[in-house]
Structures are given as C-alpha cells and as structure tokens.
C-alpha cells in the first residue's frame, strides 16, 4: 500500500511537488497523469527514497520513507524514466547484478532471471550487449529488472514509451497480470487510453499538485455537474418543433438526435420519453453522454475544472 500526506518537494525556491495526498490500496493500480514537468517523476523519486521530501510524509509497503528507507527500497520495484541499463553488460549480467543487489539467493536468482527473460521474449538475446538492443528491448529488460525481487510495490515511469504496439500490449498485459491482492502499482504515463485500460484510479497532476483523482468513470463525469443524455429518433426530425419537459435543459439537436442535460434523470427522463412519444417522435435509443478522458485531462491541466471535483 502507498499512502502519502502533504508530500512536497522544493528545489531551492522552486516547488516541484506540493501537498500530494494519495492512498493506493494493495491490489490497486494508480495511473499518475500529467504533462512534462508536472511533478510525476519527483513524486516517484520521493516514494523510492532517492529524493527527500521537503515537507509531508509517505508510507510505502508499510514503511515510512524517512525512517525506513532501506526497507522501502527492498520492497519497491522501479522502472525509471530513462531505462538506466549498462550498455557494456549483457541482459543476463545486468539482471544478475541487480538480483544480487536485491539480495536474491543464488538458486532463486537464476530461476527468476530465466523466468523473466522468457516472459519478455529476451531469452534469445540474453548474452548480447545491451548497447545493441532496440529501445523496446531495453524497456522490456528494464521492466524485467524492476520485477526481479517480486516487489510489493511497483513504480513504473512511462512503461510503454518507445515500444511498438505489440510490445506495449505485452507490457500492459504484464501489468494487469502483476496486479495481485498484495501488490500496489503506480504507473506514470502520458498515454490516456493506457491509463484508462489498466488503472483503478487516476490522479492528474499539474504544477506539482494533484488536481483531480478518482476512478476512470468518476473522472469522466468530473466535467459535468448534471447528467447529459442523447436521444436518437427512428426517423429524421425534419424541423419538427420540440418541447422539453421541466427540468431538462436543451443542449443541441441534429438531423435525428437531441441532446439535453438534467439534474434529476430519474424523474425527468420518463416524463420526457412520454412527452416525445406523445409528440409523435419515435425513440430509437437513449444513452447517457460522458466526457472522454482526454477532455477531462485537458480541462484539468488547463485549470478549467468544476470546483466540485477538484481535490487540491
């Protein structure tokens, strides 16, 4: 589990992260979304104890990052922004070095390296120098390194960047597989569809502050203080005058559709359907409209969010 309280970091006079308060339960995946320089990497670095917070606190896998940094590092697997592989070493040597650094026993070490090389399709190139690897291969190897010691917490910074679609799919599937009751995962990403696909929670960070957080579905409703609906008719409207019921606000209409919003869909929707049918407009479908995550993200980073949903 990861828990942070008012986690903040200043570099001299510049606050890179301010007041980040998060709680990610074991078994959950949190996607940290934000533009470049928003504070994602600084937050992850504080959680891995390689940056000391200026203010606030955090507990990672049950350990305080300030008082038990060694235990935190032993419990965390990290995929850093730059893969950080040694170009003169082979894939096998690199994994072996880190397996020793994470104090894996000899038998376990060999088995684990074997498993991971197989899983990421790197077994064939295990003895090739990393300097000769493609970007995608390096990323896979870096991910394998993060998983060596079966960490309880995984912090992944841009795990699928520079990967071809098939490799990215492999990594996303791996993240989903890695999710277990005991493991907590934070993924920093720019890829919104990836975040939506793998995360239970999304936190949008901008200028060092968490501006929005919640489940993907909750975020999609974040822009709306009233539910939006679209009614599609069985026949074109042909300029037919429409009259809505009280409580429904007209938003727009097209050749064969109508869009409206209401604060009380449970009472307004049946009345409106009844009214439209009575007006001789046969309804084909009615569906609730939600914003795309991209819209939510852009609104969040541009600071145009409804105050109700803002967390910081």
């Amino acid at each position: 589990m990861i828990e942070t309280e008012d986690l903040s970091k200043a570099f001299k006079d510049f606050w890179a992260v301010t007041g980040v308060t998060l709680r990610v339960e074991a078994g959950q995946v949190l996607a940290l979304l934000g533009p470049n320089g928003a504070g994602k990497t600084t937050t992850v670095r504080m959680l891995t104890t390689i940056l000391r917070p200026t203010r606030g606190s955090a507990r990672v896998a049950g350990y305080d990052i300030l008082t038990h940094p060694d235990e935190v590092r032993a419990a965390v697997g990290v995929l850093t922004e730059g893969h950080g592989l040694y170009p003169f070493m082979s894939a096998e040597e690199d994994l072996d070095f880190f397996a020793r650094a994470y104090r894996l026993l000899p038998g376990e070490r060999k088995k684990r390296i074997e498993e991971l090389l197989e899983f990421f399709g790197l077994a064939e190139v295990r003895r090739r120098q990393i300097g000769q690897f493609s970007k995608g291969m390096r990323q896979k190897l870096a991910l394998a390194r993060a998983l060596l010691h079966k960490p309880r917490v995984l912090l992944l910074d841009e795990p699928t960047s520079a990967m071809d679609p098939a490799s990215a799919r492999l990594v996303r599937d791996a993240i989903r597989e890695l999710r277990s009751k005991e493991r907590t995962i934070i993924v920093c990403t720019h890829n919104l569809s990836e975040a939506e696909e793998i995360a239970d929670q999304i936190a949008i960070i901008n200028h060092g502050r968490i501006v929005l957080k919640g489940s993907p579905l909750e975020l999609k409703f974040a822009l709306q203080d009233q539910a939006r609906f679209r009614i599609r008719f069985a026949a074109p409207l042909n300029g037919h005058p429409l009259s809505l019921v009280e409580g429904a606000k007209w938003l727009g209409q097209g050749k064969d559709w109508l869009e409206y919003q209401t604060a009380q869909p449970e009472t307004v929707n049946p009345l409106l359907i009844q009214s439209l049918t009575r007006q001789g407009l046969p309804i084909l479908t009615i569906e609730e409209q939600v914003c795309s995550l991209e819209e939510v993200y852009l609104h969040a980073v541009e600071g145009k969010l409804n105050n109700v949903y803002q967390t910081a």
């Binding site: 390689i50 590092r73 020793r100 650094a101």
Partner: protein, 478 residues
C-alpha cells in the same frame, strides 16, 4: 556488526566494484591507454635508463644514473594512475549523465556500500596496471642495466604509488559525487592535478637529493589526506542529494545572503554580536585550538631537532650576540628598520589568511603547516643558541615573549578555526547541504578572525614595535 552482516556489507561493496571494473575492462578507451602505459611505457623507460646511464658514465658521473633509475621507477608507477582520475571523476556524475544511477540508487545497497564500491572500482584497474608497469620496468633495469634495487626501496615505491592513487581517487570521487556534470568534474579536477603535480616535483627533488627516508613521511602524509578525503566524501555523500542537483549554477546572491545570515547570527548590535556569535564560534574552536597547541609544539620540536642537521656557525652567532651590534641596532630601534606596527599587523594577517586559504582546501593540514613555520624557527634558534652556550630564555624573553602574550593566543585560535573549518568539510552537519555547511564553517572562521584574532594581532603588533625592542635592549645589555 555480526560476521554475517559484515560479509553482506562487503559483498555489496564488491558487487558494485566488480560490475564497474568489468565495465571498465570492456571499454577500449580505458583499456588501450592502460596497456600502453603498463607495457610499452616501462619498456621505453628501460631504454631511456639504459641510454642515460651509458651516457653519464662517459663523463664519470654514475651518481646521476643511480638517481635517475629510481626516479624513472616512480614515473613509471605513476603514469598509469592518471587513468584513475578519469575513471574516478566520472564514477557518480558519469552514471548520472548516462541515467544509470537511478536504478542503482533504488536498490537496498547502502550509501557507504555504493561509495566504497565506486572508490574500489576506480582504484583497482589503474593501481594494478601501476604495479604491473613498475614490475616490467624493474625486470627491465635488472636485466638491461644490471641495477639492483634495495627491497625496502621497492616497497617504498609501491606504497607511495598506492597512496598517490588513493589520494587522487578519493579526491576525484568526492568531486564526482558533488558535481552535476562530467564537464564540471573535469574542470574541478585541477584541484587534484595541480597539488599532485607539485607533490611529484617535491618527490623528484627528494629522490635526486637522495633523501629516501623523507619519502616515507610523504607516504604517511598522503595516507592521512586520503583518509580525510574518504571521510569527507562519505560524510557528504547522500543519495537523496545526488539527483537534486541539476545545474552547477553559481548563485552569488544566495551565497552572499547565506554567509551574511550565518555571520550576523542573532546579533542585534556589534556588542551583542560579539558576546553571542563571536564567543559561541570561539567556544566551538577551543577544542581544535587545543589540538593546534600540540601541532605547533611539535613544529617547535621539529625546528629544535633540525639545528643539529643545519648547524649555524657558532662563531657567527657568538660574534653577532656579543659584539654589541645587536645592542646598537636595538638601541636605535632598528631591529626591523622600515617596519611600522601597521605593517607588522598586515604581515601577520597575511600569513594567517594564507594559512586559512591553504587550510580551506586541505582540511586544515596546509594551514597548520604554515602556522608551524614560526614555531619551527623559534625552536631552531633556541637549539642553535644552546649549541653555542647562550641561554635560550634570554632570546625568548627578549624577542618573543612580550608580543607573544597576544600573538600566540591569536595563532592558536586561528589554528583552531582553520582546523574546525577543515573538519566541517570532512563532516558537514546533517540537515545541511554541502554548500550551506561550507558557508557555515566559513562564517564561523570569519567571526573568530574579525572578533578576536585581528584585535589580538593588532595588540601584538603594537607591542612588537613599541615594547619588544626596548625590553630586548634592556635584557641583552644587562
């Protein structure tokens, strides 16, 4: 620490070092110069030694050849170590630039394991090649020139090479862990290269002079400096700060502001500042001042002992002391003919600042050496007077004691402040960045200087000009 913990601790160090060494040996940019300096250069030096020995023998000057061969041995041992500087300078900052440091810092390896691992990795390849090069040269001169070295001298050369490498590497690792780019580290390397170059010149002079015993003292000195550098590097190395520094920007405004904040402290008026800040900084310098008493006393003893080695002609001392010339000059107050109290004060201050500047870069060591000089001279003159049967107490009472009442405490306090400043670099306080710790140490030194040392030296200069000559005249003419 239990045996298992110790084993795990050492395993971590060896793990870091082993990986780095393996990587170094795969990089042709490191391997090629090592091979050249290890194998080809000693052979070239053998050839040079052979030719030179033959050449000087033609002119019946074998001593030049005898001194040249050991000197070349030292050079052969030193050259491969220049690589150590390159490796050590980029040990941390190079990894940071290549973005490989972050995964390493995220492992459970401790700061000390990382630091010692890097140190060992930077030290091992150049040192091994230095030993190998020296051995190649030694065999060469044995077979080609027929020169047989004293085994103790060979040990001495190996020890000296090891100590030089240790100093260079430990200094370079400190630089590497505190800078943000390899370029900045290379620029700062002059702080290592220049002193080492000067040291090599001094060692060469000692070798040509035939003072091989002095080389042991050089080795001891290097060992102490290496220890201090390692201590300093360990104290200043914090993984949390390694990724914090992104630019080596020199923020003069911040430096000025921070120094002034430390220097001014809580003082609301000059008197209040003196009572609180100066006395507090002086109290902190008291313990190192006690240490400087011992060091300066040792300086006096060294000077005393050297009187036997460098004997002043007895007749000259007797003549000068008894001829009345001294009395005449004192009578006309021309002991220091063109000097005024202001000049004396300025000269003493200059010496103290020079000592402080030296101490600033050498953990106080060079500063203490400068302060030892006058005490060594006093010891030397005392011993010289004793040798010719003149009481040294007259000399002390007449020429030293009056102004020494103020000058010696000033020197001791300066010594304490310099040592404390050096110690602060070696072990900065927790919770402070290295820059803040340095400015704090500098401000403590400045408070002692401005608040106590400068006034004491002014009083001493006035006495030295106004009272000492009269007292000396009275004592000597009695």
């Amino acid at each position: 620490m239990s045996i298992k913990q110790l084993r795990d601790y050492l395993a971590g160090i060896l793990l870091v070092a082993g990986r780095e060494v393996r990587e170094h040996f795969r990089d042709w940019r490191i391997i090629v110069p090592i091979i050249i300096l290890t194998l080809f250069f000693p052979v070239l030096m053998n050839y040079t030694a052979n030719r030179l020995v033959n050449f000087v023998q033609q002119y019946d000057a074998p001593i030049i050849g005898e001194r040249l061969i050991p000197f070349l041995l030292m050079v052969v041992g030193f050259f491969p170590m220049s690589i150590s500087l390159v490796i050590a300078l980029e040990s941390f900052v190079g990894e940071k630039e290549r973005l490989t440091i972050e995964p390493l810092l995220c492992t459970p390896l401790s700061d000390r394991q990382l630091y010692f691992g890097k140190l060992l990795a930077s030290l091992t390849p150049p040192l091994l090649s230095s030993y190998l090069g020296t051995t190649v040269y030694l065999f060469g001169v044995i077979y080609k020139v027929g020169w047989r070295a004293d085994p103790m001298f060979i040990i001495q050369i190996f020890v000296l090479a090891t100590m030089q490498a240790l100093v260079m590497v430990s200094g370079a690792v400190v630089i590497s862990s505190q800078t943000t780019s390899v370029r900045a580290a290379n620029l700062l390397a002059s702080f290592i290269i220049i002193p080492i170059a000067m040291l090599l010149q001094a060692e060469s002079a000692l070798m040509f002079w035939g003072r091989y015993t002095a080389l042991w003292w050089v080795a001891v000195g290097l060992f102490i400096i290496a220890g201090l550098l390692i201590r300093s590097g360990l104290a200043q190395f914090r993984r949390e700060e390694l990724l914090e520094r992104e630019m080596d920007a020199l923020n003069l405004r911040w430096i000025g502001r921070t120094f002034w904040r430390f220097f001014k402290g809580e003082g609301s008026s000059v008197w209040n500042w003196w009572r609180t800040e100066v006395l507090l900084s002086t109290r902190k310098a008291l313990l190192p001042s006690g240490l400087s008493v011992l060091v300066l006393f040792f300086g006096g003893l060294v000077g005393f002992s050297q009187a036997k080695e460098f004997v002043l002609p007895a007749e000259y001392i007797q003549k000068y002391w008894n001829s009345g010339e001294l009395v005449n000059r004192l009578a006309g107050l021309q002991l220091l003919p063109s000097y005024t109290a202001g000049v004396v004060w300025f000269q003493n201050l200059r010496a103290i600042f020079l000592a402080s500047l030296g101490g600033f870069f050498t953990f106080g060591v060079l500063g203490m050496l400068v302060l030892m000089l006058p005490f060594a001279l006093i010891g030397y003159f005392m011993a010289s007077l004793i040798q010719v049967g003149i009481s040294p107490y007259t000399f002390i009472g007449a020429f030293i004691l009056p102004h020494a009442i103020f000058e010696v405490p000033a020197i001791l306090l300066s010594g304490g402040a310099i040592l404390r400043m050096g110690a602060s670099f070696a072990a900065p306080a927790r919770g402070q960045t290295v820059g803040e710790a340095w400015l704090k140490a500098l401000s403590d030194w400045a408070k002692v200087m401005v608040g106590l040392v400068m006034p004491l030296l002014l009083a001493a200069a006035l006495i030295e000009m106004l009272i000492t000559p009269r007292l000396a005249l009275w004592l000597i003419s009695r």
